[in-house]
């Protein structure tokens, strides 16, 4: 067993976990944050993407112990039903989701992408989404949502390409 101490969505968390515990297992199992999903076991699909210290990571490929001392943001931290964040609002506005299973990981990857790229266009967005699979939407409306969210961020006075989190 190993002790992990980290911040999750701004809250301090401390747990004793089995050494092998993955970050996603800590989030889903110990903390009940089931918005983060597991879609594969080879880090291909991106459904488990969260932000760790401001960077998008696949939480199925990070040990909880590795995240100790870090700051984790999950989909629940992007915004709740009464206060959706820009990326979440953009997904709703653009019909960027159907079954919704890939969506939390997709949004976390996009949230990070908008932190890091000041001039999103189709090609760059496609590249940014390379690590996230969606089987429902054909990505068309996800790409629209990225652009929509980018505009919303700019309108909110949060310039693109500069980290807003972490």
């Amino acid at each position: 067993m190993i002790k992990v101490e980290l911040r999750v969505n701004g809250q301090p968390v401390s747990r004793e976990v089995d050494d092998r515990t993955l970050l996603v297992e800590l989030l889903r199992g110990e903390l009940g944050l089931t918005g983060t999903h597991v879609g594969c076991d080879t880090s291909q699909c991106g459904a488990c993407t969260v932000k760790l210290d401001g960077a998008a990571v696949k939480s199925c490929s990070v040990l909880a112990a590795q995240a100790s001392g870090g700051d984790v943001l999950t989909v629940e931290g992007l915004g709740g039903p009464d206060g959706l964040g820009e990326v979440q609002q953009a997904f709703v506005a653009c019909h960027g989701l159907q079954c919704g299973f890939c969506t939390p990981g997709m949004m976390m990857a996009i949230d990070y992408y908008l932190d890091t790229d000041g001039s999103p266009d189709d090609e760059r967005i496609h590249r940014a989404l390379e690590g996230n699979i969606c089987r429902c939407t054909g990505y068309v409306n996800i790409v629209r949502a990225v652009k929509h969210a980018a505009q919303a961020r700019i309108a909110a006075g949060k310039p693109l390409g500069k980290a807003n989190h972490g």
Partner: protein, 785 residues
């Protein structure tokens, strides 16, 4: 109030799903639950000599190690999938009734293999332990003594004399073999034809790849004798009936719940053995048992799609008019008799949008040592469309005709409606020619030569392909809607179809809000739980709005009728005087009105006039049958091939879709996008490889199976909805869930053939990956030198 039907409303369910508040099966836990893990067959075909569970039982945390024999010893039986579906026309009968083998084979499917395994990944042992890790560790310690048997994975080979046999009741591995259609007329037409075109198409096997790995949480209450299964699916009622039958209990003793479902696409209509195993185990071990598939298991054990060989033959007269069609369709069923739906759909629709005076087909459903196949998005219709549209391009070349002109000559004309196809479908509507002309215009087909030249200058080979399609209204024929108006201002809607991403919580409410004149937010849609959904066919085959929408309209009308006498009593006027307007019953004489919810309050207090015991303001509408609705349209694909690498870029794609009346056009367009992505995947990327020699599966994860990612979508995508409403249902809807996928592989392959020109020798395999295309180009160029 503005009408909500037809508006691109944002989806109500999205608020929950984007904020991490969705409830997929693996998100749910029950107190005291244990965890299951399966030992799966490493062999495509083997006899099980012995299973030694002792070491596994002694492994830490293990509660039970369960075998198929234990299941049988408990008095249960295998699942009856009822693979032979309700007929597309005579829905009370099964699609197939005759077979040259004398039987329509249907083998019960055990949750755990007992004496023989028939595909890699088949579950053999279920280990239940205190944690997932302990269950998986113990799986490693189960000793199974296998005696490997010869295996066959290809359906054509499996039909040959001397091929390894999977089941005693299916000689030559044939579940059935049937000849359907107008034999004599077809024979005569081929005899007098000026041109006969023949070609063989192999429609590849695809993996469903819904993003949510399947999961099941079973429990059993010994006090009530009731089972509970929480498992995402495309419809709980079928799951309930099938598993209750297997457990030999009345259906009422099994409650099946499906919360949010992370993608359906067809196969999740069927019942899976691992879910039944978990349910049974829960009773056996005395606590809830949960199992969640990993992605590798999903590649081995989820029901898969397609895998058909179509040997097509078409007869033409001297003017290029189709005289007859005769297809041999060989469907790879896999190792268990799960579904004959693709063969049923594919044969009925095989003449698609063209006037084919005579048609016949030979259908073979073939067992092989592969994971079972089920209905996958379109389920036979994309396969049929692929064969038809490729045949027309091949025929045009052979006849020396323009491929669009060949289509124009053969499309069914509006004045031929209602049109009865030689396979017995009746199309009630569809502007087939207008859709094609619109697609050509939007795609700027006639200007393609200039673009082709420009591409050549950049070293790229440009190709265009077109495909017309029409679908058939099939699926489970029975559906039910229940509406209850509550005095608190809410309307409860229970329906037997359920969303796996299609947005029913939005579209059903759009319909009801209009029908009852109440706010969208006043309506709650409840689905996916046999505790309150008593009848329902689930979501597949575009049936949800076609059947569910019709029943919403009928049930709403019943509410208006039932409320009128109550309102009349409240308004002190005659029932016949009462008019229903915008959620209120109005007496025009006095201009006084009472609202729907006030009527509900009155019924709760006093009952209905003449029926004092009725205290609920509710209505139920049920249907069992077929509603004519044939979604149709045209797709045009424009792509560029890089001859140096074989890479394909879809530069432009046009989709003209007549889904009837779109309830929510944004959702319909999303369905087109998603279907297209799956079509691109099958055409160019998704390669489920099974070694023909060893029968081993080579594609076990997303690392070696190419699901479409964002970058492969067309650089320019034009989707247009046309509307030629059907009169077959009150809303005029046809359906939109399969519109994107049905023409996609055909349009892409026609474009590829066009781009490759003389380098296209025979037929490229699906998927036509970059190495496949590169190889074809090299071969052709080598042959020229």
């Amino acid at each position: 109030m503005d009408k909500l039907v037809g508006q691109p409303l944002p989806r109500a369910e999205d608020i929950r799903l984007v904020s991490g508040k969705g409830r997929y099966t693996d998100d749910v836990n029950l107190p005291g639950q244990a965890y299951g893990a399966f030992v799966r067959s490493p062999h495509p075909h083997a006899a099980i000599r012995a299973i030694d569970v002792q070491a596994a039982l002694e492994s830490p945390g293990v509660i039970a190690v369960l075998r198929g024999q234990d299941y049988l010893d408990d008095g249960h039986q295998g699942m009856d999938h009822i693979p032979n579906p309700a007929d597309a026309v005579a829905f009370r009968e099964r699609a197939f009734s005759q077979s040259s083998t004398g039987v329509i084979f249907n083998q019960r499917h055990l949750p755990l293999a007992v004496d023989r395994v028939r595909h890699v990944g088949e579950p053999v042992v279920l280990v239940v332990a205190r944690s997932v890790r302990e269950a998986r560790d113990a799986c490693e310690r189960v000793e199974i003594d296998y005696d490997p048997l010869p295996a066959v994975v290809d359906a054509v080979q499996a039909m040959e004399e001397g091929a390894p046999q999977l089941w005693a009741g299916a000689p030559r591995n044939l579940c059935f073999q049937a000849r359907i259609g107008e034999e004599e007329a077809v024979r005569r037409a081929f005899a007098r034809a000026r041109h006969v075109v023949r070609h063989e198409f192999r429609n590849s096997r695809v993996v469903n790849c819904q993003m949510e790995p399947r999961s099941a949480l079973g429990s059993y209450d010994p006090r009530t004798g009731e089972y509970l299964l929480i498992a995402g699916s495309q419809g709980v009622n079928r799951q309930q009936l099938c598993m209750a039958d297997a457990l030999r209990i009345p259906p009422e003793r099994l409650r099946v719940v499906s919360y949010d479902v992370g993608g359906g696409f067809g196969p999740r209509s069927c019942v899976n053995p691992d879910q039944l195993a978990v349910l049974w185990a829960a009773r056996r071990v005395g606590c809830p048992v949960k199992w969640t598939s990993d992605r590798n298991e999903a590649f081995l054990a989820d029901y898969q799609g397609r895998d058909q060989v179509i040997r097509a033959a078409m007869a033409f007269d001297e003017d290029g008019r189709i005289l007859a069609m005769d297809n041999e369709i060989i469907g790879n069923v896999g190792a268990h008799t799960v579904s004959y739906v693709p063969l049923a759909n594919g044969s009925r629709i095989m003449t698609t949008v063209y006037h084919v005076p005579a048609a016949a087909a030979t259908l073979s459903a073939v067992l092989t040592n592969t994971p079972p196949t089920g209905p996958y998005r379109g389920a036979g219709r994309p396969e049929a469309t692929h064969a038809m549209e490729r045949m027309l391009d091949i025929a045009a070349r052979q006849l020396g005709m323009d491929r669009i002109e060949l289509r124009r000559r053969n499309l069914i004309r509006p004045q031929q409606m209602p049109y009865r196809s030689p396979m017995g479908l009746t199309y009630d509507s569809g502007q087939f020619a207008a859709n094609m002309e619109r697609a050509l215009a939007v795609a700027e087909w006639d200007d393609a030569p200039a673009r082709r030249q420009a591409a050549r200058a950049r070293g790229k080979w440009l190709g265009l392909g077109l495909a017309n399609y029409v679908e058939s209204p099939v699926g489970a024929p029975r559906e039910r809607v229940e509406l209850t108006v509550a005095p608190d201002g809410t309307i409860d809607c229970v329906v037997g179809t359920q969303s796996t991403g299609q947005g029913h919580e939005t579209t059903f409410r759009q319909v009801l809000a209009d029908e009852l004149g109440v706010p969208f937010d006043a309506i709650a849609v409840r689905t996916g739980d046999t505790a309150f959904v008593k009848v329902g066919g689930g979501s597949h085959s575009d049936r949800s709005m076609r059947l569910g929408g019709q029943l919403l309209v009928e049930a709403a009308a019943q509410l208006r009728t039932a409320g009128a006498p109550v309102a009349a009593a409240m308004l002190k006027c005659g029932t016949e005087d009462v008019r229903f307007e915008q959620g209120r019953f109005v007496d025009p004489a006095s201009s006084r009105a009472v609202g729907l919810f006030e009527v509900a309050a009155r019924i709760e207090r006093d009952g209905v006039p003449g029926q004092a015991d009725v205290r609920r303001y509710s209505a139920a509408a049920e249907f069992n049958g077929r509603i004519p609705a044939h979604p149709t349209g045209t797709a045009v694909c424009e792509l560029e091939v890089d001859p140096d690498t074989g890479d394909v870029e879809i530069v432009r794609y046009t989709s003209i879709d007549d889904v009837g009346r779109p309830i929510n056009p944004q959702i319909v367009e999303g369905q087109v996008h998603g279907g297209l992505a799956q079509g691109i995947g099958q055409a160019l990327l998704e390669d489920y490889q099974i070694d023909p020699e060893s029968g081993q599966v080579f594609s076990g994860s997303y690392m070696d199976y190419g699901v479409a990612r964002a970058g492969v979508m067309p650089a320019r995508l034009d989707v247009e909805l046309t509307e030629d409403r059907t009169q077959g249902n009150a809303l005029g809807v046809k359906g939109g869930g399969e519109s994107g996928i049905t023409p996609a592989t055909a349009a892409i392959f026609n474009a590829l053939a066009d781009a490759l020109g003389d380098c296209w020798d025979g037929e490229l395999p699906m998927p036509a990956t970059a190495p496949v295309i590169w190889e074809a180009i090299r071969r052709a160029q080598g042959a020229q030198q």
